[in-house]
């Protein structure tokens, strides 16, 4: 029972934080709120027994991505979001409400939250839980599935992370060329 109460309170906090993010215009405040958002969702993952995921979300979402976003506002020197007033909020709002209503209609068929008889719980998960110790000798099923049963998948993910690192290096890793230096180069080429 206490699980459900914590669950509901954390989800309500998440919704409030999300609304605050929409309404704020100060980018630094938005980024800090996003850190809070990540941390709250990490707490929610713990309540839903996903300890490995919570661990990662707390380290990545609340830690590294906040640092990277702050580094970006330091680099771009943009403090506030500009409201030009040209945007009418009604069209996006209508799109969002229609999409949301469709999705809510879709959830009416979903099995109840935490139902042990739901189809998602009956497919491969019992095999993993039963066979993890005999097959691999690893008690943490998440590690066993991650590294052994779905090892090929994880190899792909590691390569994606590696590729993203290379792409960031290519985009902003090198020495910065000053605009004036580029102009000089062009003038040299012209003459």
């Amino acid at each position: 029972m206490i699980d459900i109460v914590i669950n509901i309170v954390l989800l309500a906090f998440l919704a409030i934080t999300a609304i605050a993010i929409v309404r704020m215009t100060n980018l630094f405040a938005i980024i800090m709120l996003f850190g809070i958002f990540s941390f709250l969702s990490a707490g929610l993952f713990v309540v839903m027994d996903a300890v490995d995921v919570a661990f990662t979300e707390a380290a990545v979402g609340a830690g590294i991505s906040t640092v990277l976003m702050i580094a970006t506002i330091a680099l771009t020197k943009v403090q506030k979001e500009k409201h030009t007033g040209k945007h009418r909020p009604w069209l996006p709002l209508a799109v969002v409400i229609i999409t949301g209503a469709t999705l809510v209609y879709g959830t009416l068929d979903i099995p109840a939250f935490g139902d042990p008889e739901a189809p998602a719980q009956k497919h491969v998960a019992p095999y993993y839980i039963k066979q993890s110790i005999p097959d691999t000798g690893v008690p943490n099923v998440v590690t066993a599935v991650l590294a052994s049963y779905r090892g090929f998948d994880t190899l792909g993910e590691v390569v994606v992370v590696f590729t993203a690192g290379i792409a960031v290096l290519l985009l902003i890793g090198g020495k910065r060329t000053k605009q004036s230096a580029i102009k000089k180069e062009r003038e040299k080429d012209d003459t």
Binding site: I21, I30, D52, A71, T76, I129, V141
Partner: protein, 118 residues
């Protein structure tokens, strides 16, 4: 009443998803757009973990005397997705930095104006 409690998770998740979606389509600031995408992403993670949760289940670390565990498969998928997500977010932020350097702004309208004036 029971129905509301058993679907509350999904509805709030959809609400968060739509908040992220709204930020992406209605705001012009690129950093805020990326934060909107991140909110969308986190709510997708929440949806997966909600589907994998089992009432009264334990975390999927095999212990003696425990019979009921949560579904480990969504945990694996989301665990890797979070790390890949931060790597792709970093890539998007790097693009924002480069856009700022060459356009002098990160507001979508001003970038469009700049493009049209060329």
């Amino acid at each position: 009443m029971d129905f509301i409690f058993s679907h509350y998770n999904y509805w709030i998740t959809i609400f968060l998803m739509m908040v992220g979606f709204y930020i992406v389509i209605s705001r012009g600031n690129l950093i805020k757009k990326i934060i909107g995408l991140n909110i969308f992403q986190v709510s997708a993670f929440l949806l997966y973990i909600s589907i994998g949760a089992v009432q009264g289940g334990a975390a999927p670390i095999i212990t003696e005397g425990v019979e009921l565990y949560s579904n480990p498969l969504p945990h694996v998928l989301i665990l890797t997705a979070i790390v890949v997500g931060v790597a792709t977010t970093a890539l998007a932020l790097a693009l924002v930095v480069r856009i700022k350097e060459s356009y002098g702004t990160i507001e979508e309208d001003e970038i469009h104006e700049h493009d049209h004036s060329l």
